[in-house]
Symmetry: C2
Amino acid sequence: MGSGRRIYLAGPDVFLSQAVEIGAVKKALCRDFGFTGLYPFDNEVDLASPTASREIYTANVAMIRDADCGIFNLTPFRGPSADVGTVFELGMCVALGKPVFAYSNVATDLIDRLREAGGLSRDPASDVWRDAEGMSVENFGNADNLMIDAALAEQGRRVYRADVPYIERFTALSGFKACLDEARAFFAAAGSRAA
Amino acid sequence: MGSGRRIYLAGPDVFLSQAVEIGAVKKALCRDFGFTGLYPFDNEVDLASPTASREIYTANVAMIRDADCGIFNLTPFRGPSADVGTVFELGMCVALGKPVFAYSNVATDLIDRLREAGGLSRDPASDVWRDAEGMSVENFGNADNLMIDAALAEQGRRVYRADVPYIERFTALSGFKACLDEARAFFAAAGSRAA
């Protein structure tokens, strides 16, 4: 059973044309698992306001601070890595000592995505991989930049990765449900330890 | 005059083939401004070790917690946005209440970079811009995702933006020096207030 704990729901979902709708679906799934979902404020301000950025930021940061944990959609967004807004929020949660759960709807390693993009080469002397611009590529079997994967690992978790049809990668919710399962098990175990 | 305060030096600089050298140059510049630079640990572990990710992460997080502030290189990396590792660390610093200074060697707004990439369109009904995949694009005059720009704004600062020759965008240090200037002024003012 859940506990009414609050989960911050981070991800590029807020950029979908159905952003509000998917937020409602995610919040309903949270309720099914006994949680309260806190969905970013991005679509609830007057976008023409000169203070829109600050209003959204302040509301999102308040929700993050209020949350008991976060679920992060780390599906690659506009490039080989996750959405930077989502990753900023992940860093905040980790610094605040909150449990974090994460998923990606693209199962490959970061290095595999860069290999697909082309231009990857290995320096045989140093055994370092470099992209087409000569920037090194971490080869640690991670879903994304090591700071992301290791933040999860430090909490005893991993980025939940499973492929979905490409066209559904920003809307599929199987990974999100897997994270809700993880979160429920985590708080159940935490409750047992406290009892 | 400086104060020996410690600055965490975040950026995709760690991926350059001259990563160690540019770190040394940045640390020397910090000394010139009276600071101590803390450069990420990425290039000081055995990359073949199965625990390399965790070792780098743990060392970097310890440096972040130890730092008095951070300077973040937010130059777009492998796409229209900043390096996600750097942004994770920015989120951590902000959550920990540390002053953050940031620069980008590409002066455009995020939306301009997406426009250059092609496929940007505006929904006349909602006045929302969308990329080629239909994901909305923030049109707030920001350098990157609003969480990044607004985090700086909350501290009374902006991402320092100035174009450099494209080939030098990961090595040029003019923006870094501008941030050192900002940091020196910030701590000088903080010192006056404390006195």
